[in-house]
């Protein structure tokens, strides 16, 4: 997870002037901003960019903010991304509907930039503390009907693909919508990033050797082998109790 200072915030809002204002404000605070001024752009962009937080306008031409929110919540790799809804409506009913539909926060237009900024900070703080504490015990994987979960203890290693990852277990391999970075961010102590493209379950390591003078390789209990980045060899050996 990024720290608040360099977190990535996606703004989905058709009012270009508001996008410009919010973008300037957040960038001056050190945030990275991903703007989307067309609601249809929101989902594919969010899936690729994996923002830490999404600011979502309700009233937009084409598909509205509620529909975008529904699609976000239905997409495994961004389903838990905090979402703040922006709306011109201010009745209690609307707020309740918004929060029950899966929004994490709700801001009524017009709002003060100070309040916007404070709420962004608070949401990020909240989601960060939620994620960093325990470490996930189960990995979500894509299943025939929605999502299935694999116990992390069954995992041999996880291989990073372009924007998802492949979970290798003794039973076979399964795709997950999470990116390798996300897994690493949420991983508990047993899972370790050993390479740009691999995370290994340290409990599954049964041996290690130098395949060549510069290539350090881990052998896992199912017979598979995983390379270790040169820069991480010392750290991996340390975690395995070798030095």
């Amino acid at each position: 997870m990024n720290t608040a200072a360099n977190a990535k915030v996606m703004i989905v809002e058709d009012d270009a002037e508001l996008v410009r204002g919010l973008k300037r404000l957040l960038e001056s605070d050190g945030y990275e901003v991903v703007p989307a001024t067309v609601s249809l752009h929101a989902l594919p962009l969010a899936l690729r960019e994996q923002p830490d937080l999404i600011v979502l306008d309700v009233m937009m031409p084409g598909i509205d903010g509620w529909e975008v929110l529904r699609r976000i919540r239905a997409s495994a790799s961004i389903a838990s991304t905090p979402v703040m809804m922006l709306t011109a409506k201010s009745s209690v009913d609307d707020r309740v509907f918004g929060l029950s539909a899966g929004a994490d926060d709700y801001l009524t237009k017009p709002f003060a930039l100070r309040e916007f900024r404070a709420r962004i900070d608070a949401l990020l703080r909240r989601s960060r503390s939620g994620l960093e504490a325990p470490g996930i015990k189960r990995m979500p994987v894509t299943a025939e009907r929605g999502v299935a979960f694999v116990d992390t203890s069954d995992i041999m290693y996880i291989e990073g693909m372009r924007n998802h990852c492949m979970i290798h277990t003794s039973e076979g391999e399964m795709p997950s919508r999470m990116s390798l970075g996300e897994v690493e961010m949420r991983a508990g102590a047993g899972l370790m990033r050993v390479h740009r493209s691999y995370i290994v379950n340290l409990d599954a390591v049964r041996g290690c050797h130098w395949a060549t003078k510069s290539a350090f390789v881990l052998s896992l209990k199912d017979g598979s082998e995983v390379p270790v980045s040169r820069t991480l060899v010392a750290e991996v050996r340390g975690r395995l109790g070798l030095c």
């Binding site: 270009a16 410009r20 703007p35 594919p44 962009l45 031409p61």
Partner: protein
Amino acid sequence: MLKTRRFALYSDVHGNVSALEAVYQDMDDAGVLERYCLGDLVGYGADPAGVIERVRRSGDPVVQGNYDRGVGGRLGDCGCYYATEQARADGQASYDFTSANIDDVDAEWLAALPVELRLEHQGARVLLCHGSPRKVNEYLLPDRTDSQLERLAREASAEVVCVGHVHVPYHRTPAPGIHYVSSGSVGKPKDGDPRACWVELVLGDAEVMAAVNDSSAAVVGATGVWLAAIAHRVPYAVDVEAAAMRAAGLPESLARAILAG
């Protein structure tokens, strides 16, 4: 006293990242923050994905160009008009290169762009589109008659029509109160000047117009608002960009075209 509003139009970047970056810098220097992109981000140039990335990150509203529609929808061609067989072959090579060099997320992004945007400033109605108010790939070249342009604007319920696509910047008033502004081209000008082009629009009162050097400045519709347009030309390393096109394997004629302007 009317409020003055300045905004920038830019279009037809056509995969040319160096020209786009020079234009963004020039707009920053000119202090114009409100910006609209009139389409055709990709095609012909060496880095279509790089242009999409930068325009997307800018947060500027974008209308869809014919090339964006062709590539975004994976339609097989860009809907462009080519005068000769050779131009058609080079055009197809460009389309294939562009399509192969943007991923599905970028293609979806292009495909979902709106075909027009509308602005309103103190009663003045502004339409932003790529080709013409009725067609994404219609060329409103400078030789169009006043009466044609006036009719198109009235049918579109706009007093100010802003277009890209022709790659030649102009500001003309085909009828009293009716304005047409062409944004020229960032990455592939066709008016003999290879420098990147963007156009600044100034909406304000008659007094403000006195300070703007535009002989076509005039009142908009029945409002008291005046409109002036200023074409900005920005030098950039066009030879480096042409070399990048050659290195990418794009047809020689396309590299020569950006060098000549």
